[in-house]
């Protein structure tokens, strides 16, 4: 495990406020995304999708489409022998075989010379459906008599849970009498019934969060080029992990991984949705069928109708506390709606419900339920925003109803390092309390009484303030990296880590600090699956934590090799050497030195006996470093329309050690606005037949610049013992607390407690009316 590197002096490295190296090409529009790629003979693809949530496919006739000039390949399930019933994941179910299980599931694919021709070909494909009853509501879908979603014998998919948090269901079973329950989990401790009986105050509520889309602006896209002569395929992907994409394509198409090369291009936003294979397998098959390179880019409508959104979550929560608020017992039941294929991060819900705040007695049950809707995938801290909305809304209500200060109440019962999580493992040291305390000191929190009192006067709306805490247990995954000294004295850092969050800048800063040169001498490269060291997916807030540790070790290795060579050249002891600026110097002997370029050149010179400097590292990990954030919302509510206006929003987050300030702030601000999207506007809405009612960005409302205030960031640093320079994951915590913070502020402003997201004007206004009209 990497330890903090001791450098004898400061280098321009970690903690420096410098812009990303890729920023100039991004602002110039020069960055290459998959849809920007052009290849000779490139075909364009379109998919025909089922308009029905559940339907038997009785007949497909593609003959007219195939006859259309310019059409180069038409595929249906009949043309894809790799497809098997009982598909475990969406990738395995790239095409409906004889039954479509969600509106938007592909039933045919076309590759043509032009998009317009492919579109015309789709119109020429005849499909005869027999519409079947659909399971659309997750609670009703748990009924043993509900229309069955999965084929009989389909296994649950727990890989997503493992990818993100390393916590898989502890007790998994398929309920024999409820075919749409894919997974069940159960975590408990103590005697809940007895403790609940002793409680002075019992609060029971049911909360609901709808499916939301991750909202990346770049749709899913792939270009595939199958080489008929060699059997090799090259895939240009927008992915969060090229090795994972390669493995999934190989598994789905039943071909060796070595026959696939995945080249990750710039990922135009992923947020969890670009981990699992979605468009790559069918694009590869179209290329194989046509013998030409093929590009497939999903439309926005396809993204919303048939992407891989976050699940809908319904949580019933009952708590019992003493008069002074002391937690006694918690009973929770989580229903996660996974859509048509399993893949939920099930157990995390129980962990967050029962152990972000410490409950001595608890029982938390979780169900993953299938419905006839698009199957889900991760969305930035999967399950955490939904669960934090529930537990932090609940804690706020307990405090308010018992006359306690909600922030002090939460602080008192918040987990601390060493406390046990619901699944029995201890919390590692973390800055949850420090984040909350930072907000409690903030003027917006301290001024909450004045703010509330100023509401309703002089034409102002109702005013309130709320805060919430949320945490994440980042994932871990083995990884490797190399650091090379070039003949010009610069370093090249090579990993396979796809840079979805500015991590490459952080890794370059880490390499600079660990080797002992300024950042300007470091070039960071993300390689493809043929050339780069094995690297895990960029997800689970673990890129800097894991790949960063490998980069430190590889850079230290390169430094050691450099100093060893310099010691020979300078006839000095390694202990007397240091790297200063562009050279290795002998301490105390100013005129004795050798440049890094000279050492680099010796490694690349004919007849030279000096080996190249090539530092490597390959690491596995066992310790996760929890990462917490707390967020504070000050709002104003129009009592007539129910419109919530955010006037201030503050995020405090424990980053362990601030490595890349601009990047960390950007992550926190962006995550916060996604979190506010959960809170205020976002939700996929389905008809009773299972059709999406808001399949455009006009109707699926994401927050714009005009909807939010400046997001203030407060950096908290509680070092992670095993993290690079003490750093911990940054990406996921900021998306967690806002829904609860805003719901708590809404109650503070209006007295209305909403338990269903998003907090739309309609729901708020109806709540105010139900409360007696004026909000108080």
């Amino acid at each position: 495990m990497a330890t903090v590197m001791k450098t004898s002096r400061d280098v321009r490295g970690i903690g420096l406020r410098i812009p990303r190296v890729d920023a100039p090409e991004k602002v110039a529009g020069k960055t290459l995304y998959v849809d920007d790629l052009k290849l000779p003979g490139l075909l364009q693809a379109r998919l025909l999708r089922s308009p029905h949530a559940h339907a038997k496919i009785k007949r497909i006739d593609t003959s007219k489409a195939k006859a259309l000039p310019g059409v180069r390949a038409v595929l249906t399930a009949a043309d894809i022998p790799e497809l098997e019933p009982g598909a475990k994941t969406r990738g395995h179910a790239m095409m409906a075989i004889d039954r479509a299980v969600f509106a938007g599931q592909p039933v045919a694919a076309v590759a043509a010379d032009e998009l317009a021709i492919a579109d015309e070909a789709l119109d020429l494909i005849e499909v005869e459906y027999e519409v079947l009853p659909a399971a659309v509501d997750p609670i009703k879908s748990m009924d043993p008599k509900a229309p069955r979603v999965a084929d009989e014998g389909t296994e649950a998919d727990t890989s997503e849970a493992l990818a993100h948090s390393g916590i898989a269901p502890t007790e998994s079973e398929t309920a024999q009498n409820a075919p749409n329950v894919a997974q069940k989990s159960n975590l408990g401790r103590g005697d809940v019934a007895a403790a609940m009986a002793e409680a002075d105050f019992v609060l029971e509520k049911t909360y609901h969060v709808p499916m939301v889309h991750q909202g990346y602006i770049e749709p899913h896209a792939a270009v595939a080029d199958y080489n008929r002569a060699t059997g090799q395929m090259t895939v240009w992907a927008t992915t969060q992990g090229s090795f994972n994409t390669r493995a999934e394509i190989a598994d789905i198409l039943q071909i060796p991984e070595a026959s696939i090369k995945v080249i990750p291009l710039e990922c135009g936003g992923g947020f969890g949705a670009k981990i699992r294979a979605l468009v790559e397998p069918i694009t590869v098959l179209l290329s194989r069928a046509s013998g030409r390179p093929v590009k497939y880019v999903m439309t926005r409508r396809e993204e919303l109708e048939a992407g891989m959104p976050a699940p809908s979550v319904t949580i019933k929560l009952k708590t019992g506390v003493k008069k002074d608020g002391t937690p006694l017992a918690l009973e929770g039941e989580t229903v996660i709606e996974a859509g048509a294929y399993s893949g939920a991060v099930l157990t995390m819900s129980g962990v967050f419900l029962a152990s972000v705040y410490q409950w001595p007695n608890f029982q938390v049950t979780g169900y993953e339920v299938l419905t006839h809707k698009p199957s889900i995938a991760a969305y930035r801290a999967p399950m955490a925003p939904q669960t934090a909305f529930v537990i932090d809304s609940h804690m706020d209500q307990i405090a308010t109803q018992l006359g306690l200060d909600p922030a002090e109440y939460k602080l008192k019962h918040l987990q601390k390092g060493g406390d046990l999580m619901a699944h029995g493992q201890p919390w590692q040291p973390n800055g949850a309390s420090e984040c909350l305390q930072a907000l409690m000191e903030h003027p917006v929190w301290k001024g909450r009484d004045e703010w509330r009192a100023s509401g309703g006067k002089n034409g102002a709306g109702l005013r309130g303030t709320g805060l919430a805490v949320g945490g994440w247990v980042p994932g871990i995954q083995p990884t490797s990296a190399s650091v090379r000294l070039n003949p010009d004295g610069t370093l090249t850092v090579l990993t396979g880590a796809v840079d979805i969050a500015g991590t490459n800048q952080g890794l370059a800063l880490i390499a600079a600090s660990a080797y002992g040169v300024d950042i300007e001498r470091v070039k960071i490269v993300t390689g493809d699956t043929d050339t780069s060291p094995l690297t895990g997916i960029s997800a689970g807030s673990k890129t800097t934590y894991t790949v960063g540790a490998a980069v430190i070790e590889a850079a230290e290795d390169a430094r050691k090799q450099t100093l060893d060579i310099a010691a020979g050249e300078l006839e000095a002891a390694v202990a007397d050497l240091d790297i200063v600026g562009d050279r290795v110097v002998v301490e105390g002997v100013p005129d004795k030195s050798i440049t890094l370029a000279a050492i680099g050149k010796k490694g690349n010179t004919f007849q030279s006996r000096v080996p190249p400097v090539f530092g490597t590292s390959a690491l596995g990990f066992s310790v996760q470093a929890p990462a917490f954030a707390a967020q504070l919302a000050r709002i104003e509510v129009d009592p007539d329309t129910g419109q919530i206006t955010l006037t201030d929003f503050v995020c405090a987050q424990d980053v362990g050690k601030l490595l890349n300030p601009l990047g960390a702030e950007g992550q926190i601000q962006g995550g916060a606005v996604q979190s506010l999207g959960f809170a205020l506007t976002e939700g996929l809405m389905y008809s009773d037949e299972g059709r999406l009612m808001n399949p455009s960005l006009l109707d699926y409302r994401k927050l714009t610049a005009a909807d939010v205030p400046n997001i203030e960031t407060i950096i908290v640093e509680v070092p992670a013992p095993a993290g690079p320079f003490g750093g911990r994951g940054v990406g996921e915590p900021p998306i967690i607390p806002a829904p609860a913070a805003v719901a708590n502020a809404l109650q503070d402003a209006t007295g209305v407690r909403l338990t269903v997201l998003p907090l739309t004007p309609e729901r708020v206004a109806l709540g105010i009316v139900a409360n007696g009209g004026n909000g108080h």
């Binding site: 920023a23 990346y216 602006i217 962006g670 996604q674 960005l697 714009t704 610049a705």
Partner: protein, 159 residues
């Protein structure tokens, strides 16, 4: 349908493009003129990733037919920097403030912001937020963007 000849001016240079009569301006720019800076995020004018300027005004190029720019001035993100390669003040401020994350919305965002500053050289924070409200960004939360545009406005005034 037979293709048509589109005569227009793109980034200050006369251009002659052969396009389908039903091609959008975005398709003409990306596929025919090989200027891929403008992106397609939705194809329905809701996300702003395809924003370019026509006669100085920001437009969603996915909603405009290519033939509609006949004889007009089109500017894309590729044509925003000076001829010597130095970045437009908005581009430079985006770099300095560390605005771009995934970068996909950035070209459209910059075209909206630079058009805003042409029309209103000293916008308030609210005017900046409204000026880029047609451009969705999912990574940044807009805070650094607004600061960068505000600084670019100041730089423009001083310059």
């Amino acid at each position: 349908m037979p293709k048509m000849v589109l005569e227009t001016t793109i980034n200050g240079e006369a251009a002659e493009l052969l396009v389908q009569p039903y091609a959008t301006l975005l398709e003409a720019l990306r596929d025919t003129a090989e200027l891929t800076g403008a992106k397609e995020g939705c194809g329905t004018g809701d996300c702003g990733a395809c924003t370019v300027q026509v006669d100085g005004k920001p437009v969603a190029s996915c909603l405009m037919l290519a033939m509609q720019v006949r004889g007009r001035q089109v500017r894309t993100v590729e044509g925003l920097a000076s001829e010597d390669g130095s970045l437009h003040p908005v581009q430079a401020a985006f770099v300095k403030h560390g605005v771009p994350q995934c970068g996909f919305c950035i070209p459209g965002m910059i075209m909206s912001a630079s058009a805003l500053l042409e029309a209103n050289p000293a916008p308030s924070e609210e005017e900046i937020r409204l000026g880029i409200a047609g451009n969705l960004c999912r990574c940044t939360g807009y805070t650094k963007m607004v600061a960068a545009i505000s600084e670019a406005a100041t730089a423009g005034k001083e310059g």
